[in-house]
């Protein structure tokens, strides 16, 4: 009944060649496996093969309680683990209908934006490394390390924090937190210009990215792209604006849009988002209200029978948690709508006719995180 896997073979006498990029390749940022068909340097077809880091988190979550399953989402998109946890917490809260204390909302949003900056920093370094410049990677890590230290002090972990719990956050802020974040903002403002000097303005870098991997807006919508990938094509899809959660409606920030649609536009959108996130942090950090950091919830959580979907804007796009509850202590089914999965599906479409070097640049500009795609 089902079609068997076709094995792509080179046709003798033509100059097409099938090349595996990944799973162990410097440009795939993990274990993505792409089978590309080449004619010389020109890409004819890109076919992603996934599953090298599939852990079946959705199935696992079916046997975990509503408090427990949140930690596993940190392992999906490990670069924006806070935001993933946030989405899960919000989804559970939506079912429980609890009121989140204002202080907790502030803390959550600050953490989200810090995570976004850290994630974009790493992306920036990795992107420059993909196109061949190695020094930016270390500069990006200098800034990312500062955020990680702040996180470590407050949340107790550097990458997989599990800081968001249903009803608020796990601990209160560390006393040093506000001062360190302010110091980071001041530091980062001076360094972000260095980023521009070293990479953005560089003529080689610009030529590598401009008019490469052009994603038209209608394709971005049809392929379900979200986040900076879609916004670089002029699709307004920032969930912080369109389906606001927590205290985002009260904040002053702009949705970063670009009409280029090429890799350079995606690059610029992310770089501008860094500045926007800084702007958000500046608004919040000075007046975090006093109060509880966690709402009172029952020890054993039970969601009423029904279905709950909570979208959230991560560093890579729309992350959705879809919980189907049958009224028991564990979810009946959980679906994680990961932004990377949809963003990856567009790779074949936009990299046809480009060169191998461009494929690497496009992958970098899509900002793929493989555990997020495989789940």
């Amino acid at each position: 009944m089902y079609r068997e896997t076709e094995v792509i073979q080179t046709i003798p006498g033509t100059d097409e060649m099938v090349l595996n990029i990944g799973p162990q390749h410097p440009a795939t940022h993990g274990v993505l496996h792409l089978v590309i068909t080449l004619n010389g340097e020109i890409i004819k077809k890109v076919e992603p093969h996934l599953g090298y880091i599939h852990r079946s988190i959705e199935k696992m979550c079916e046997s975990l309680s509503y408090r427990q399953f949140i930690y596993s989402t940190s392992r999906m998109d490990y670069l924006s683990s806070h935001i993933n946890n946030h989405a899960c917490a919000l989804c559970v809260e939506q079912g429980l209908e609890v009121e989140i204390p204002r202080r907790a909302q502030y803390i959550r949003v600050i953490m989200d934006e810090l995570t976004r900056i850290a994630s974009h920093c790493l992306w920036w370094g990795a992107m420059a490394m993909d196109v061949g410049a190695l020094t930016p990677f270390f500069l990006a890590f200098r800034e990312r390390e500062m955020i990680n230290d702040i996180m470590e002090e407050t949340c107790g972990a550097r990458l997989t924090m599990n800081y968001m719990v249903p009803g608020g956050v796990m601990f209160d802020l560390h006393p040093n937190f506000v001062g360190r974040v302010k110091h980071f903002i001041a530091h980062f403002k001076s360094k972000i210009d260095e980023y521009d000097e070293l990479v953005t303005g560089n003529i080689i870098f610009q030529n590598r990215l401009k008019n490469i991997g052009v994603l038209r807006p209608e394709d971005a919508i049809s392929y379900g792209c979200s986040g900076p990938t879609a916004r670089a094509s002029g699709v307004s899809c920032d969930l912080r604006k369109h389906m606001p959660y927590e205290i985002y409606p009260e904040l002053q920030f702009e949705e970063v849009l670009d009409n280029g649609g090429d890799s350079f536009a995606r690059y610029l959108v992310r770089l501008t988002e860094l500045r926007q996130s800084m702007h958000i942090l500046e608004q919040l950090i000075d007046d975090i209200p006093e109060g509880d950091f966690q709402a009172k919830t029952k020890a054993v959580l039970k969601l009423p029978k029904g279905e709950y979907y909570q979208p959230i804007e991560t560093a890579r796009g729309e992350f959705g948690v879809y919980i189907v509850s049958d009224g028991s202590t564990t979810p009946y089914r959980i679906k994680f709508r990961s932004p990377g999965f949809s963003n990856l599906s567009v790779l074949d479409h936009i990299s046809r006719g480009q060169k191998i070097g461009d494929l690497v640049a496009i992958m970098g500009s899509l900002d793929l995180v493989i555990p997020d795609i495989d789940r």
């Binding site: 061949g132 190695l134 270390f138 080689i204 590598r208």
Partner: protein, 359 residues
């Protein structure tokens, strides 16, 4: 002069010919050359790789190697030992003969190219009368080694890397040649010693006006490309082709490629130093007799190596700053920018040379 390599070589030469018959003396001289060059080769490999690692780490705000020896100085020695002890694998379906031949070709080229380089005043293996042409001609053969390596490996990455390298090296050959020609026009000779002597009163970079500066810039870009260095390292292109033409090489065979790459950098920078920065000529300023006299006291070999390492530093600086070009941009840069500009620059140099506008 307190210390001169010229005197040492001359006295060895005379002593050999006085005490032995001519044939034996010649053979012994060749043996000395061979041993010296091998020593230089090994020393260059160790020093340059160390330098690369330190330069890169300092530009990236890291410490760099610091465990083996004082300040990590013997790290490359340890690496060499590691590479010797590692197994030099030959995958199954490779063309065994060519696969094993390729490192030899690359090494032979890297070593032969050393012949006309003047390391110090009067210290040279062979002052060949077409010195510059010789270097250009021989160094371009190394692309054959890379092509063989890529083809023999039976690996798609290797093949792509070799193809890229072929298109790249032959292209940049042209603008390197044309920028060298500009200096040849100014100096009036192809012999290394002639070119250096022409810079007695000042280095071509300073006294050759605009054409020499343009030629210098184009030369540096072209040799960076010819030695497969970033931002022109498309033949290896780590993030695209994992290892390019040497993907399948391991152990000592890989080490030979690696060594040859660094020696090639040294050679082209030595040529650059000879052509544009006066080789072993000390730095002189017009009529400042006292200053010039002090400069003369610095041994010529130090001048030569200082200039060469300055150029090597610039090339390393490129590597740790710039992103990699794409293959079509690389060729576009050569054919649409460097080649027309260097053609025009040659005319400019001719005008300057004939009118005698240089100092």
């Amino acid at each position: 002069m307190m210390f001169s390599l010229e005197n040492i070589t001359n006295s060895i030469h005379e002593w050999l010919y006085a005490n032995l018959n001519a044939t034996l003396a010649l053979i012994i001289e060749f043996a000395i050359i061979g041993v010296l060059v091998i020593g230089l080769f090994a020393a260059l490999g160790l020093v340059l790789i160390m330098m690369e690692r330190k330069v890169s780490s300092w530009m990236q705000l890291r410490l760099g190697p610091n465990r083996v020896g004082p300040g990590g100085m013997f790290q490359t020695v340890a690496d060499t030992i590691k590479l010797i002890v590692k197994e030099g694998m030959t995958p199954d379906r490779v063309d065994k003969l060519l696969f094993n031949l390729a490192p030899f070709i690359v090494m032979v080229i890297a070593m032969v190219v050393m012949a006309p380089i003047m390391f110090a005043k009067g210290f040279q293996i062979w002052d060949i009368n077409i010195g510059v042409l010789f270097v250009l001609a021989v160094s371009s053969i190394s692309v054959i080694g890379i092509l063989i390596a890529g083809w023999a490996s039976n690996n798609k990455y290797s093949l792509l890397g070799a193809m890229r390298s072929g298109a790249q090296i032959v292209s940049y050959e042209l603008s390197a040649g044309l920028s060298v020609l500009a200096i040849v026009v100014l100096s009036g000779g192809l012999r290394m010693s002639t070119i250096i002597d022409a810079q007695q009163t000042g280095w071509w970079l300073f006294k050759g006006h605009i054409p020499a500066i343009i030629a210098f810039v184009i030369f540096i870009i072209a040799v960076t490309a010819e030695t497969n260095r970033a931002p022109f390292d498309l033949a290896e292109a780590e993030s695209e082709l994992t290892g390019g033409f040497h993907t399948e090489y391991s152990g000592m065979k890989f080490a030979l490629f690696f060594l040859a790459e660094y020696v090639n950098i040294f050679v082209v920078c030595a040529i650059g130093a000879t052509l544009f920065l006066g080789g072993w000529m000390p730095f002189h300023i017009g009529n400042w007799q006292a200053f010039n006299h002090v400069m003369d006291y610095i041994p010529s070999s130090i001048w030569f190596f200082g200039k060469t390492f300055l150029l090597i530093f610039i090339i390393m600086w490129f590597r740790w700053t710039f992103p990699r070009l794409r293959i079509d941009q690389l060729l576009q840069l050569e054919w649409k920018y460097l080649l027309p500009i260097s053609m025009f620059n040659l005319l400019l140099a001719t005008v300057v040379a004939i009118a005698g506008w240089h100092f």
